[in-house]
C-alpha cells in the first residue's frame, strides 16, 4: 500500500479513493462486507490491560450499547446478538481468524450470518499517552443503502455505533465507569432499553 501511494500515509478510513474497500480487504483474513467503518481512540492505559479486556468477548456488551449478548463458544468462536432498528436483532457466529497478543485481533462472520461482517482491532503502544486502539469494520448493511439510512435514523448505524462504543470503552477503562446524565437508576435503564 505504501508503495502504491507514496505521498499519502492516511489510514483507509479517511480514504477518498475508489479502492479503499479493496485495500481494507487486503488487511483482513477472510474479509467480508463492502462498507468500511474505521475509528481510532487513545486510551490512557497500557496495551496489555486493554487487549486482555477486549479479547474476553463476554466483556464487550458492557460498553457496546447495541450488542445485546455475546456467547463465547470456544477460544476462537463466539455468537453475537446485536440490536437493529425498531426492535429487530441480528445474529451471527464470529471466528477469530488471526491474532497476536497485545497487537491485534481479526475476526470474520461465519456462513449463515444475518449481517456479513469482518473486522480488525489494533492496539498500539503510545508511550505516556497510553494505547491507540484502532477498529476497522467491514460489513454489508442489511437492506443495502435504505437499510443503512433507517439504521442511521435509529442511531444503530455501525459508523455511529463504533464511534460511541470506542468512547465508552475509553471511559470504562480510564474511569471505571461509563458517563451518564441519568438522574437515577430508573432513568439510566430507560436510556439503554
Amino acid at each position: 500500500m505504501a508503495d502504491q501511494y507514496p505521498t499519502d500515509d492516511a489510514p483507509i478510513s479517511a480514504s477518498k479513493r475508489s479502492d479503499a474497500v479493496e485495500t481494507a480487504h487486503g488487511q483482513m483474513t477472510d474479509a467480508k462486507g463492502n462498507s468500511i467503518v474505521g475509528r481510532s481512540v487513545t486510551i490512557n492505559k497500557p496495551v496489555g490491560e486493554l487487549f486482555a479486556f477486549f479479547r474476553d468477548f463476554a466483556n464487550l456488551p458492557s460498553f457496546m450499547e447495541n450488542v445485546e449478548r455475546i456467547d463465547v463458544l470456544d477460544a476462537k468462536r463466539s455468537h453475537w446478538v446485536v440490536k437493529g432498528p425498531a426492535r429487530t436483532t441480528y445474529e451471527w457466529d464470529a471466528l477469530v481468524t488471526d491474532e497476536v497478543q497485545d497487537q491485534y485481533i481479526v475476526w470474520s462472520s461465519q456462513p449463515g450470518a444475518d449481517v456479513d461482517n469482518s473486522g480488525r482491532v489494533e492496539f498500539r503502544d503510545a508511550g505516556a499517552r497510553g494505547t491507540v486502539v484502532t477498529a476497522t469494520i467491514l460489513y454489508d448493511p442489511p437492506g443495502g443503502v435504505v437499510g443503512k439510512l433507517i439504521a442511521k435514523m435509529f442511531q444503530r448505524e455501525p459508523a455511529i455505533q463504533a464511534r460511541r462504543d470506542l468512547r465508552r470503552f475509553k471511559q470504562l477503562m480510564e474511569t471505571g465507569e461509563i458517563a451518564t446524565a441519568a438522574m437515577n437508576p430508573k432513568q439510566h435503564e430507560e436510556e439503554f432499553a
Partner: protein, 392 residues
C-alpha cells in the same frame, strides 16, 4: 424534589421532579444550600442555546451538603462542598494536564457527537447547560447527582459562610484564569472589557498578579462603581470613545494585556445556525464581536489578548491583520475549574479575595423564575442572584 426547569424561551418553572440517586460508583448526591443564576443562564432563558429540552434542570453554580455517596466517592456524608461547573473524570490525558474542561470522559458518549462535529473534538460535560454539554441536571434544585465526586467537589472547612465560597464553582476561577491567560508582568496596564462577575474577578485577579493599573470598560454605572472599588480606573463607553481613551490613558502605547469578558461571560455554546439570529439582536452579536475587535486594536504591539468571553460559532470581521502584524498572543477557553479551586479557596480564607460584594439579591429557590426575570430586566442593579432552598 423541587427544581428550576426550562420549558422554553422566557419560560422557567419550579417543578416537582424525581429525586436524584446514585447511578455510578464515583457519584455523590448533594443537598443544595446555595446556587446562583449565571449570566450565561440568561442565554438559556432567552432561548439562544440549541439542544435544550423541555424539563431540563438549570444551574451550574452551586454548593451543598453531601447526603449520599457511591462506593468509590472519596467524600463523606455531612461534608460541605462547592461543585465545579465542569464535569471531569480526573484520569484522562487532559485531566492529567489539568485541562479539566477538555476532559475526554465527562460528557456521555452519545452527546459527544455534536461537539465533535462542531469543534473537531468534544469538550467536557457541564451541569445544567443543554445536551451539547451532556444533558446533566443542574444545581438550581434541592438535590443534585454529582458524577466523579472524587475529583470535582472541593470540601469547605466547617463554619465558612456559603456566600464566601459559592463562586468557586465558576465565575471566580473564570476571572482568575482570564487574568492568568493575560500573562501579566509587574508594572503592566491591563484593560478589561465587561464588568460582569467574570470581569470584576479578573480586575481583582490582575491586581493580585502584579498589574500596576487596570482599566475596566462597561456602561452600567453600578458595575463600573464595583470595579472602581477594587482600584480599577474605568471607561464608560456610552460617554467616551474606548480606543482613544485607552491610547491616551497609556501615553499612546496601548494596554500591555487586554481581557474580553463581554457577552456570555464564561461559557455557552452557539452553533453557526443560530449565530445570525444572535447577530441580528445587537444585544449579543455586534457587541461581542465589537469588544474583541476593539481589544485587539487597542492592545499594544507584542501584547497579550485573553478571552474568557465565549464565541461558539464563526465570527466576521475578526481583525486578523492587526492581530498578526502587531504580533499578539491569544489565550482563551472554558475554565479548568478543578485546577484553580484549592488555591482560590485558600485566597478566600486568607482574606485576599472578596466575592460577597457581588451578591445583590438573595431569594428562595421557589422564587427562581422571578430571579431570572429581574436579572434579565435590570443588569445595572442586579449583579448576582443567589437562590437558597427554604430561604423564606
Amino acid at each position: 424534589m423541587r427544581a428550576l426547569a426550562w420549558h422554553g424561551k422566557h419560560d422557567v418553572r419550579v417543578d416537582t421532579v424525581d429525586d436524584p440517586e446514585i447511578v455510578n460508583s464515583r457519584d455523590c448526591i448533594i443537598k443544595v444550600t446555595a446556587t446562583a443564576i449565571c449570566g450565561s443562564d440568561l442565554h438559556l432563558y432567552d432561548g439562544y442555546i440549541p439542544t435544550m429540552q423541555s424539563g431540563d434542570i438549570l444551574g451550574h453554580e452551586f454548593m451543598g451538603e453531601v447526603v449520599e455517596v457511591g462506593a468509590k466517592s472519596t467524600l463523606k456524608k455531612g461534608q460541605k462542598v462547592v461543585v465545579p461547573f465542569t464535569i471531569a473524570c480526573g484520569s484522562c490525558y487532559h485531566c492529567g494536564k489539568h485541562q479539566y474542561s477538555a476532559c475526554d470522559n465527562g460528557n456521555p458518549a452519545d452527546n459527544q457527537d455534536i461537539g465533535q462535529e462542531l469543534y473537531g473534538q468534544p469538550m467536557s460535560g457541564l451541569f445544567g447547560y443543554s445536551h451539547l454539554t451532556g444533558g446533566y441536571a443542574g444545581g438550581q434544585a434541592e438535590y443534585v447527582r454529582v458524577p466523579f465526586s472524587d475529583v470535582g467537589p472541593i470540601v469547605i472547612p466547617d463554619g465558612v459562610e456559603d456566600e464566601k465560597v459559592l463562586f468557586l464553582s465558576d465565575i471566580l476561577p473564570t476571572g482568575w484564569q482570564a487574568a492568568e491567560y493575560a500573562q501579566i508582568e509587574p508594572g503592566d496596564t491591563v484593560a478589561v472589557w465587561g464588568c460582569g462577575p467574570v470581569g470584576l474577578f479578573a480586575v481583582q485577579s490582575a491586581f493580585l498578579m502584579g498589574a500596576e493599573r487596570v482599566i475596566a470598560i462597561d456602561h452600567f454605572p453600578r458595575r463600573l462603581e464595583l470595579a472602581r472599588k477594587f482600584g480599577a480606573e474605568t471607561i464608560n463607553f456610552e460617554q467616551s470613545a474606548v480606543y482613544e481613551a485607552l491610547m491616551e490613558m497609556t501615553g499612546g502605547i496601548g494596554p500591555d494585556a487586554v481581557i474580553d469578558a463581554v457577552g456570555l461571560e464564561a461559557h455557552g455554546f452557539f452553533v453557526d445556525n443560530v449565530i445570525d439570529q444572535i447577530k441580528a439582536s445587537t444585544f449579543l452579536g455586534t457587541d461581542r464581536t465589537h469588544s474583541i475587535r476593539q481589544a485587539i486594536l487597542a492592545c499594544r504591539k507584542g501584547g497579550r489578548v485573553s478571552m474568557p468571553a465565549v464565541y461558539g460559532g464563526f465570527v466576521d470581521k475578526f481583525p486578523l491583520g492587526a492581530f498578526m502584524e502587531k504580533g499578539l498572543t491569544l489565550k482563551t477557553g472554558q475554565t479548568h475549574v478543578q485546577h484553580y479551586m484549592p488555591a482560590l479557596l485558600n485566597a478566600i480564607m486568607e482574606g485576599k479575595i472578596d466575592t460577597t460584594f457581588l451578591i445583590s439579591h438573595r431569594m428562595d429557590l421557589e422564587d427562581a423564575p422571578k430571579g431570572y426575570k429581574m436579572f434579565k430586566d435590570n443588569q445595572n442593579e442586579v449583579t448576582k442572584v443567589v437562590l437558597k432552598p427554604g430561604f423564606n
